[in-house]
C-alpha cells in the first residue's frame, strides 16, 4: 500500500495551495484530481481561436510589490510570483443600464466619491458620509481582527460592533434615498451570492475596502496560469499528482482518518486528508455514514446551498471599443430595486432583469485574446434547483432560450454585439455542477449569510481527526479566500504534526 503524509482531494484553488504549502514544508503529498487539469473553477478552455477565462473576474488581495496585499505575500512565500504576470485593472467597476446611464467607479476612494457626487449631486453629503463609514468600518475591522486588539470593545470600534451583521440594504437605506445609487453601491453582492437585503454589511464593506485599497487584478494567461504555476511548484517540491483520478472514499476508523480509496480502487494510507471537494459530498459520499458524527449532520442541516450561475463565454471578432465597451468589469443593471424579490428571480430558469456582470479582460490586457478580437464573460446568479427538474430532452432548448434572454439583455445596453460573435459557449447551473462537482452547481459552496461566516461555523476543521477542508465551502468565497484557505489548512496540519512529534 502506498503511504503519504497527506492526501489532498481536489486541485481547485484551495487544494492546490494546500498541496504546494505542504510539499514546500517537506511533506510527502498526494494530490488527487478527477479532471485532467488543475484549477477547479480557476481554469480556462479553448474554442476556436479563443481561450476563455472561466471564473476570475477581479483578483483581490494582490496589491503592489511596494504595498503587498495578503495574497501577494502568500504567493511570494509559495515561490510562484516569478512565474506569473499580473495586470492591474484600472476600474473598480462600470455600471450600465438600458436607458443609457453609464458610470465608471475607479478603485480609489477620492475618485469614487467625486464620480458618484457628480452623477448624484442631490446625495452629495450622503455619499461622503457613506464612504466615511466604509473607511471607519475597515479601520475598526483591521484593528480588531487583523491586529487582534486584546482590548477590543464596542466603544473602541463602534462602526464594527454596530454594523457588521446588519443587512447591507438597511445601511444603504439609512444613507440614501436614490434607488439607483443604492443599487450601484451594492453590486458586489453578486460576488458573494446573497442580495443586499440579506448580505451582512461586513461583507460589502470589506470587499469594497479590499478592491479600493489593494486594487483589482487580472492574470496574464488567465486563472489557469495561476493554477498551473501552483501545481508546477508542488511538483518541483516533490509532490505527486494523479489526474483523471478522484477519491472514492476517505477511510475513517474510530473517528480518525486512515487514508483514501482512489477512484481507481487503490488504497492510500495517510493520517491526514484535506478535502477540496464540496463539504456536502465529503460528508455524504466520501465518508461512510457511520463515521460521520451527529454534530456534523446537525451543523449541515443549518446550512443552505449557495446560488449557482448562468454564464456566457463570448468571443467577438472586434475590439471592445468598437462596441462601446470601455471598462473591464461591467455591471449591467436593468432593475435598481435591491429587494428580497431578487431571490425569487434567482430561483427561476429564465433571465428577466437580473443584475449581470460582464467582464472584458481585453480592455486592461489587449493580448488576452487574439489581435482584433476580444472576449466577454457574462454571468448572472441562478439557483441550480430548477435546472435539476428539467427533462434531459429539453435541456438544450431551455439552455438556448435562457441564453437568448441574456444576449437580448446585453444587446439592450451594448447594441450590435451579436453580429460580432465568433464563438459562444453557455454554462448553466448544470454545467457548473458537472465541472465543480458541487451539489446543484452551487458556485459559492454554502450560502453566505452572516450565520454562515467563520464567526459561527467550523471552517476548515472537522471533528474527524486528521480531516481538514480547503476551498469555497470552508468560509468566504472567491479567489483570494479559497487560495488562502488551502494555506491555512496546510498550516493546521503542519502544526498538528509538530504537536504530535512533541508528544511522542
Amino acid at each position: 500500500m502506498e503511504t503519504y503524509d497527506v492526501v489532498v482531494i481536489g486541485a481547485g484553488n484551495g487544494g492546490l495551495t494546500a498541496a504546494a504549502t505542504l510539499a514546500k514544508a517537506g511533506l510527502d503529498v498526494l494530490l488527487l484530481e478527477r479532471h485532467n487539469i488543475p484549477g477547479g473553477a480557476a481554469t480556462s478552455f479553448c474554442r476556436g481561436r479563443f481561450e476563455f477565462e472561466v471564473a476570475l473576474h477581479q483578483l483581490s488581495g494582490l496589491g503592489t510589490p511596494q504595498k503587498p496585499g495578503l495574497l501577494r505575500t502568500a504567493l511570494d512565500r509559495m515561490g510562484i510570483l516569478d512565474d506569473l504576470a499580473f495586470v492591474e485593472i484600472p476600474d473598480l467597476y462600470h455600471v450600465a443600464t438600458p436607458d443609457g446611464f453609464r458610470l465608471t467607479i475607479k478603485p480609489d476612494r477620492m475618485q469614487a466619491i467625486a464620480a458618484l457626487q457628480e452623477k448624484f449631486p442631490h446625495q452629495k453629503d450622503a455619499i461622503q458620509s457613506y464612504f466615511d463609514l466604509l473607511a471607519n468600518f475597515a479601520d475598526d475591522f483591521i484593528g480588531a481582527f487583523i491586529f487582534r486588539d486584546p482590548e477590543a470593545c464596542g466603544e473602541k470600534y463602534p462602526h464594527l460592533y454596530k454594523n457588521a451583521f446588519k443587512p447591507s440594504s438597511e445601511i444603504l437605506d439609512a444613507y440614501f434615498s436614490d434607488p439607483l445609487l443604492k443599487a450601484i453601491l451594492s453590486v458586489y453582492w453578486g460576488y458573494l451570492g446573497v442580495p443586499p437585503t440579506r448580505l451582512a454589511f461586513a461583507y460589502l464593506a470589506m470587499i469594497f475596502f479590499q478592491y479600493t485599497e489593494f486594487k483589482p487584478f487580472h492574470i496574464k494567461g488567465g486563472s489557469q496560469a495561476l493554477s498551473n504555476a501552483i501545481l508546477n511548484k508542488f511538483l518541483s517540491n516533490g509532490g505527486t499528482v494523479r489526474f483523471n483520478c478522484g477519491a472514492k472514499k476517505i477511510l475513517v476508523d474510530n473517528g480518525k482518518v486512515k487514508g483514501v480509496l482512489t477512484a481507481a480502487d487503490e488504497r492510500i494510507e495517510s493520517s491526514y486528508v484535506i478535502s477540496n471537494a464540496s463539504q456536502v459530498s465529503t460528508y455524504t459520499e466520501l465518508i461512510d455514514p457511520q463515521d460521520v458524527p451527529d454534530a456534523i449532520n446537525t451543523e449541515m442541516r443549518g446550512r443552505r446551498l449557495s446560488t449557482s450561475a448562468f454564464t456566457m463565454f463570448v468571443g467577438l471578432d472586434c475590439e471592445p471599443a468598437e462596441l462601446g465597451i470601455t471598462e473591464s468589469t461591467n455591471f449591467l443593471m436593468a432593475n435598481t430595486d435591491i429587494c428580497d424579490a431578487i431571490i425569487d428571480r434567482m430561483r427561476k430558469l429564465d433571465i428577466e432583469d437580473e443584475l449581470m456582470v460582464m467582464s472584458c479582460y481585453d480592455v486592461a490586457d489587449p493580448d488576452f485574446s487574439p489581435p482584433g478580437t476580444c472576449q466577454l464573460n457574462i454571468v448572472t446568479l441562478k439557483y441550480g434547483e430548477p435546472w435539476l427538474q428539467i427533462p434531459a430532452a429539453d435541456y438544450f432548448k431551455i439552455k438556448y432560450r435562457c441564453a437568448e434572454g441574456m444576449l437580448r439583455r446585453v444587446e439592450e445596453i451594448f447594441p450590435g454585439i451579436r453580429a460580432h460573435i465568433e464563438e459562444i459557449e453557455v454554462a448553466t447551473p448544470l454545467t457548473h455542477m458537472r465541472y465543480l462537482g458541487h451539489p446543484a452547481g452551487a458556485i459559492y459552496g454554502y450560502e453566505q449569510l452572516a450565520k454562515d461566516s467563520l464567526f459561527f461555523q467550523p471552517g476548515r476543521y472537522s471533528p474527524i481527526d486528521g480531516l481538514f477542508f480547503a476551498g469555497g465551502w470552508v468560509g468566504d468565497c472567491g479567489f483570494e479566500p479559497t487560495l488562502r484557505s488551502g494555506i491555512s489548512a496546510a498550516k493546521s496540519i503542519i502544526k498538528r504534526m509538530g504537536q504530535d512529534r512533541k508528544k511522542s
Binding site: 483523471n244 443552505r304 471578432d317 435541456y395 446543484a440
Partner: protein, 385 residues
Amino acid sequence: MKTGIWQEFEGYAEIIKDIEASRKTGEKFTAERFSPEPFIRRLHPERLSLQVAEIISETPSTKTFRLIPKGGELPPFQAGQYISLFVEIGGIRTSRPYSISSSPHLREFYDITVRRVENGLVSNFLIDDLAVGDELVSSGPAGHFYFNPLIHPKSMICLAGGSGITPFMSMIREIVECGPDRSVTLFYGNKTSDDIIFHEELGQIAARSDNINYVPVIEDPADDYTGACGFMTAELITEVLGDVGGKSFFICGPRGMYDFCLPELEGLGIARRKVRQEMYGAPLNIWQYPGWPPEVKPDRLFRVKVKNGMLLEARAGEPLLVSLEKSGVVVPSLCRSGECSMCRLKILSGKVFQPAGVPVRKSDRQFGYVHSCAAYPLSDLEVLI
C-alpha cells in the same frame, strides 16, 4: 458556538437564534438527494454501454452501425456532435470519435456511419469484425460542431467531403423530421459517384423538401455524369447560392478539403465567424508540415519515459498518444484532433513538434503541457501523465 468579540456585535443573539432554528427546520443533506452524479449522468455520462442492434450497408466501403443503450437512456445530443468509441484491437486500447448520423430526436439509438480507411485500425475493425449483438463502450456525446441558434443564420450552407457527411445527415434529418425553421444547401464532394454515402436518401429528401438543397460534387466523374464536377470552388458556391450573404457555413471532411475550401470562402468575403469547421483527426503526413525539422525522419524512433511508469519507443511521425497506446499506456482521449485537451500531458524533458493551430492553453504552453494526440516526438522524452 465559537467565542470571540463578535459575541458583542449588534445582532449576534438573533443570528444564534437563526442558526438554532435553521438546524431544526433545515433539510438533511443526503447523497440520495444531493449527489451531483445522477444529474450529470443524464446529460454528460462519462461512459455509455452500447450494443449493436443493426448494421446497414450504405456503400461497398461504408456501414452504419445502429447502437442501442445496454440499460438506461441515451443522453440528448445536438446534431453534429460525436461519440468516441473505446476499443481494444490486437491488445491495443484506443479510441476514435464518430459523428452521430441519426437525428437527435431519436434517442432509442445512435447511428454512426463508418467508412473503410486505408490502414485504418478502428474503422476497418468495425467494418470487418463488428456483428449485431456486439457490445461497445463510448463517451457521451461531445464536440462543438452544431448549429447554434444564438448566432447562426438559419440558412445553412454545408460543405461535406467523403465520410464528413455524417454530422450533416444528423442535421438534415433533424430539420426534415422535427421541422426547425432552417434551410440547408449541402455541397457534398466525393471522388466518384460510387463513393457517395446516403446519395439516395439525400436525393429523396431534397426532392420533397423545399428547404433542403442537395448538390453532389464529383471530383473524378464518369463520362455520362451530368452534375457538378471537380472541387467545391467559390465559383460553384456562388453559382448555386447567388448571394452568399446572411448564411452560416459548416465544413466537415478530410484535411485537404479545408485547405482548399477555406480560402475559397474567404475569397467570397465570408467572415470567419460565419464558418464552423469540424475537426479532422491527426494529420497523416506530419513531416510535410511547415516547421517540421527536415533532419528528423518520420520513422526515427525515440525513447519515451513515462514518469513513475514504463519506458517505450515512439516514432517521430506518429502522435505521441498513439505511441503510448501501442505500448499499453492508457491516456484519456476524446476528439483525437488536438481540440478537446483530454489527452493533455506534461513534457518534463525533450522536444515535441506541435502543428500550428492546435488550441493549447497559453499557460499550458508556458509550463510544457501538450495535447498528446497532436504532439510528435523530436527527441527522447520524459512525460508526466
